[in-house]
Symmetry: C2
Subunit: 494 residues, 2 copies
């Protein structure tokens, strides 16, 4: 089919532009020098503009429309590619190019303004940027649809199939069933033992992360481990999946669990069906599903007791003095300690969803209610008080702590909690089919990888998130597994 061949050729051209932009992004986030950014932003916005033109050209639009009309002549796989193309097209096709390029620049500037504002605890300096970004988001949604429920458009962008109704139900479960439990646990919180805050030289931390990469069966010929301030995973195709961690000498747990988390993301991308590299379907099923994999490897694998039965001695070899008299039970308790914290990325597994709940409610009220940027800090602080009994003293501990809003990523946060909930639902299914504790005790993570590869990873974006979850677990998304998992785990710990 000649039409589909032309479509593939145009897709490939667009992929080449995405490829170079993605490579430049890796460079920006891991090592590009400070003073290179203005020129870099200029050059990259030109290439983004070219990609925008290609991705919205009349010729390409016509092709996609024609293929959709003739979709019955396509193979199921080819049809999925065309539908994915249509979805991406709908997001941008009505945005004027100038406005698109302007928005790219605004986001760039806002992120730098946010960095400065955060460093200076100066919300007022960031406010005008935030206001512009929210206005731009509203305008962009307006180009796409006349729907009044704007926030649903954003939620669906980050997690296809999710909307306020479903998220409200999810967070209601958390509020009703989890918040009281968390409060009980917090009453029993313990002081961390000395080894949790001892000094751990970075070389030893790095060697342990590299050791984890080996037992997690990471393919060193298809990736890179590097350092960056904010850990992240990056990939262009199945043959190049990299990730970063950060080594803080007074926070051993940080590199270990960020390492396990990013390894979870990386294993997912490494295990896509490699044939999908040539398509627009070579990404995760959704942000939530991606996060479910990182959370699974971080929490169900690396924060489990059998994992440390198998590996604490290895860690002790790197740090014999610091960990001298520490046994598996003490270590397990320390890496699962619960405490109220201001900062989401430092939160423990149990309080984490409350940080997300707060952000979800705020975003919903910005787009659906009448919450405006002037009131944001107060609303933030009130919710912190309500859910975690804390009052931030400075904006960097509160409303300014996350990069997401400065990058225009509204609708993203809820997928973090959703990912943990998906992970719990998958966990109980897996436990019915695999003897997880024994596998972990034997360091047989390969078998866990193989199960997840078969059920989730290899499909990449050929399945929708909720469809995939139902396929694997036999039921629709059910947040009660998440509550059950957390209660089981933390009742034993506290």
């Amino acid at each position: 089919m000649d039409l589909f061949k032309r479509f593939k050729a145009m897709q490939k051209q667009q992929k080449a532009y995405q490829f170079v932009l993605t490579v430049a992004g890796w460079d920006s986030n891991t090592e590009a020098p400070k003073k290179s950014f203005p020129y870099r932003a200029e050059m990259l916005s030109m290439i983004s503009g070219e990609l925008f033109s290609l991705s919205t050209s009349e010729e390409y639009q016509d092709l996609v429309s024609q293929l959709l009309e003739q979709h019955e002549e396509l193979t199921p796989r080819d049809r999925l590619e065309v539908m994915e193309a249509k979805k991406n097209l709908d997001k941008i096709v009505n945005v004027p190019k100038d406005e698109y390029v302007e928005y790219t620049k605004l986001v760039n500037l806002s992120q730098r303004a946010w960095e400065d504002a955060k460093a200076n605890d100066d919300y007022e300096a960031f406010k005008p940027y935030l206001e512009k970004i929210i206005a731009a988001k509203r305008r962009h949604i307006g180009y796409r649809t006349t729907r009044p429920d704007k926030y649903n458009v954003l939620l669906d962008d980050f997690e296809e199939g999710m909307d306020m109704e479903k998220y409200d139900a999810f967070f209601e479960t958390i509020k009703k069933d989890l918040v009281p439990f968390v409060k009980d646990v917090l009453k029993k919180k313990r002081t961390q033992p000395a080894f949790a805050t001892a000094t751990y030289p970075r070389e030893g931390q790095k060697r342990f992360v590299e050791y984890m990469m080996k037992i997690f069966d990471y393919d060193f010929d298809r990736g890179v481990l590097k350092e960056s301030v904010h850990p992240f995973t990056w990939s262009t195709h199945t043959q190049d999946v990299r990730f970063t961690v950060r080594y803080l000498e007074d926070q051993l747990f940080s590199s270990i669990f960020a390492g396990a988390h990013e390894l979870g993301h990386a294993i997912y991308d490494l295990n896509f069906d490699p044939e999908l590299d040539e398509t627009n379907l070579n990404h995760g099923a959704s942000h939530g599903i991606h996060e479910s994999q990182s959370r699974f490897y971080e929490n169900m694998v690396a924060r489990s007791k059998p994992f440390w039965k198998a590996n604490l001695d290895k860690l002790k070899k790197q740090f014999p003095d610091q960990l001298k008299d520490v046994d598996v039970d003490a270590f397990y308790r320390a890496v699962n300690a619960v405490d109220e914290t201001f900062i989401r990325v430092e939160a423990d597994e149990l309080t984490y969803p409350l940080h997300i709940l707060l952000r979800y409610e705020i975003e919903r009220d910005i787009f659906e209610g009448d919450l405006n940027v002037d009131d944001l800090p107060d609303v933030w602080n009130a919710k912190m008080k309500q859910y975690l009994n804390l009052t931030p003293k400075k904006a960097s501990d509160g409303v300014l702590q996350d990069v997401h809003w400065s990058a225009g990523m509204f609708g993203y946060f809820p997928t973090y909690a959703l990912g943990s909930a998906y992970a719990a639902q998958l966990y109980y299914t897996m436990k019915n089919e695999l003897d997880l504790d024994t596998l972990l005790k034997n360091n047989d993570i390969k078998t866990i990888n193989a199960w997840l590869k078969d059920k989730i990873h290899r499909h990449a974006a050929t399945k929708k998130p909720l469809e995939l979850l139902e396929m694997v677990t036999g039921e629709t998304f059910n947040p009660s597994y998440y509550v059950r998992y957390l209660k089981e785990k933390y009742s034993a710990l506290y």
Copy 2:
């Protein structure tokens, strides 16, 4: 002038493509994982193809022609930009796009074939690629000109203004005046002292390179130091100039002098007039001039005795045991030891030009004589015997040692020797104006940088190499300075 504005806009677009290709090149050469290369080559060749189309479009060609016709209305700087554009256009405009893209792929494949052939000492496996590349080079020259002296076209590409007549005279001087001297020195060669081959852990080497960056006044906010197998310098504009070295624990001198060499390249690029970042003139005056700067900092600065008077103690702090009883004289002699070696990149300053002489004669005979790829290994070995009294036992020590030919870079090698000769001519001019020894003894490299910035660096590509040399030294290129410099230095040493 509206025409020139349109020209600048098209130039900027081309620069954006070059930018992303250059960033991707840094990634390829420093950390992209092994298995990522096939996909990467595919993606990058698409972007190269797009750049080719932009750089040779009718519209762009017309613009350049019209601007050349109206060149009297342009400012001198603008005229230079148009002339540079015309020069670049002439190189590729008549090459069919398919052939250009094919050639890009051939070069990619050849470099990988060369790597394998070198690893296996198997010249026969590489021969077919070399043959194809030479044929392609001839064909490309044919698209540009009907001149019979094809090698001159290549020489001029790498060093504008140079041709076989000038290079023949240069290498004749080397053969006549230097080769006998080298033979005399080699008769007196000494065994290296034990500290020259002791073990030096990489962390200490890295700290010393970082220390050199400080005293060389490198701007850490405008660059990055990294490791790679082959040290190189890389830049996109004056705000981003990076370089790499390699740390071999049994070869301390390797990282120190590669570091000084690459710092020379980097200081040049960092000191271009930053206004030129917005033009096509933000590169060195030529390969030879660029190499003159790296050779100057490597040899006249870092291999000088006063430099080690100032810095040996610093190095000893990193390696107190290995360098315990070493004094400045012994260290100076060791870092300037002369010996016959098979490998160009490991050659000392004195024998280095003989390695280049050999390659120049071979390239000339390929393009102007009847030397064919079957006879290359024998001819190589015969010349090694003649100039350095060595006979390579394996191809990796001989004809397969360099990457250049596999990358189609014929005409490049002679600029390496030329760079050293330019450096010597600059050295005697500088010594008339600055008290070089005292500056070095005081670690006042800033003053040397300032002199070179004023005379050479800031001009970037706004001057032609031979014009620049004459402007600075008051005379045309004169290879006798090079012979004089080497004889003065090595007569004192041997």
